[in-house]
């Protein structure tokens, strides 16, 4: 069983939704990314999504765009991220999902990437701009290496598309909470519950919800009907606000993730 599936099983026993945290690798440098991940794990984060920065993050809001730009200032590459995963894996079993846009993976070489990602100890891959229709080329290698293929579903997704995604997905389904780009939002659309229900009635792959989660209140609400709470921009904002005060950033991340993690308990 893969680490992701294992983790969901473990949390189900604790009656807790998984807290999955996203950060952009290399923002502002790869060493700090590693520290943050260690800190998050210590504060109750259940899985990490490591973003590979891209020059044209079409589906991201200003916060993650800015993180990408900072990461690209020092040319953070797929190789750099894979090394980071290896280092994390040498001391931790936290599930790691690699998250990004297709071109950097494509440029690295899809077969080589899948192989190296598995070697480094990654567990799943989510490519934002790779819907099932285009996912074959990378997917075949990912699957062969035994990594999970994580897909997005959106409020706009039709029944047909849910079907198609479920046929291809493993690990979990990343349910996008809104029609919109990434970014913390004070309010969320709780009609999501219905959509999650529709997914769950067809498959037992776990469903996580992200795009906009920024408070314990939201996390509690989401945790009540889904398998995972995914937080991204809210964390990036802490990194951004902290600037060079790295110790302070780590403390803030720690207290923020602890609070959200607690809220994930049902």
């Amino acid at each position: 069983m893969g680490r992701i599936k294992e983790k969901f099983r473990e949390l189900q026993e604790k009656n807790k939704a998984a807290l999955i945290c996203y950060i952009t690798a290399g923002d502002p440098d790869i060493e700090f990314t590693e520290q943050i991940i260690n800190c998050m794990e210590a504060s109750g984060v259940d899985m990490v999504e490591i973003g590979i920065p891209f020059s044209d993050p079409m589906a991201d809001g200003p916060v993650i765009q800015a993180a990408s730009e900072r990461a690209l200032k020092n040319s953070t590459s797929v190789s750099d991220v894979l090394s980071l995963v290896s280092r994390i894996r040498s001391s931790s079993d936290i599930p790691v999902i690699l998250f990004g846009y297709y071109n950097p993976f494509f440029s690295y070489g899809t077969e080589r990437f899948a192989h190296d990602a598995r070697e480094a100890g990654a567990d799943g891959v989510l490519v934002v701009d790779l819907p099932p229709e285009e996912a074959g080329e990378l997917g075949v290698h990912i699957e062969r290496e035994g990594l999970d293929r994580i897909f997005l579903l959106a409020p706009t997704s039709t029944e047909e598309r849910i079907e198609m995604v479920l046929e291809n997905a493993s690990g979990f389904i990343y349910m996008v909470s809104v029609t919109g780009v990434t970014g913390a939002r004070p309010d969320m659309n709780y009609d999501l519950e219905d959509l999650v229900g529709r997914i769950k009635s067809r498959s037992d792959v776990p469903v996580g919800i992200g795009f906009g989660v920024s408070s314990a209140r939201q996390a509690t609400a989401i945790a009540s009907f889904s398998d995972a709470v995914i937080v991204g921009s809210a964390l990036i904002r802490i990194i951004e606000d902290g600037g060079t005060q790295r110790q302070e950033v780590l403390e803030n991340i720690s207290s923020f993730t602890k609070e959200i993690s607690a809220a994930c308990l049902r």
Binding site: Y101, Y108, P131, F151, A154
Partner: protein
Amino acid sequence: MGGNNRKYSCPDVGGHFGEFGGRYVSETLMPALIELQRAYREASEDKTFYEEIEYYLKQYVGRPTPLYFARAMTESLGGAKIYLKREDLAHTGAHKINNTISQAILCERMGKDRIIAETGAGQHGVATATVAALMNKECVIYMGEEDTKRQELNVFRMKLLGAEVRPVVSGTKTLKDAMNEAMRDWITNVRNTFYIIGSVAGPHPYPMMVRDFQSVIGHEAMEQILAVEGKLPDTLVACVGGGSNAMGLFFPFIEESEVRKIGVEAAGHGLESDLHSATITAGSVGVLHGSKTYLLQDENGQVKGAHSVAAGLDYPGVGPEHSYFQDTEKVEYVSVTDKEAISAFSFLSEVEGIIPALETSHAIAHVRKIAPSMSPEQTIVICLSGRGDKDIHTASSFM
């Protein structure tokens, strides 16, 4: 429209031209692309859709545009007979309107009440703002902040037409980033918004749809050249940014392999410099803005900033079907530098009294190289994709 090539059958149902094209977008947009594809297919089966397009192309855009025999240019170069397909005479001053009017009619059929677009030179933005005004739609245009400065006149035009122009300050602040921002808007407002893409780029069905809408250029040119010359042209030449004017001219001739087709990219300061936009000539395969195509990118798959004196060519990608044409050798791609383009800009103005867009000047510049060694029995058709009023300040600062 665009459907007269029996043998050529790209794209497939998923929008692929060989390995190129496709729909590399976030899940949020997939249903919208599928809805658009369906609406376009349905419209294509409806005679009234084409009648309406034809009505507006004739009455509003001013089609057919002339195929003008450029006697003075021909004499000055002393070789092949040169014809100019006068898209500069189309309403708003470039070929862009052929596409925007058609997409706007589709938008109206789909019942969307908001139109967005990205723009580089501002020509597509103006053409979009124009049809949005005509169809009484809310309109937002994304434009790189850099471009809002160098194409200020077009910004004024868009505003006057009632559009909101949003300067884009992320990334390179040019067309590429405007397109990112437009995509983000579309992701957010997908339910009521029609995104009018301005070239044969972006995810399926855009490259196909824009190709079909622009093919009117080549269809007219074919009929016109047959009427005056009694034979097909020897060579077609067009500039390639995203590639829509070139596609519009080339596509109806695509199965005519004896007609040489040359797409001219922007070599900027030269291919050896890093300041160019020669995507096909000097790029490599990748994925950007929803499709797989040739790209300017670094060794990590990060997209590089493009450069061209012509804002409308200043784009690191290219329509995926052009990538396919490159690999299947249906079209040759070459490039000319900023300097050559500016010289061609003056040349055509002085010789023919026609001020071409700086984009178009790239095509003119290449013809200056090839026409002299061709015979007077041979003919070249250039797509004169737009007029240069918008570029006069830029060009004069170089002259």
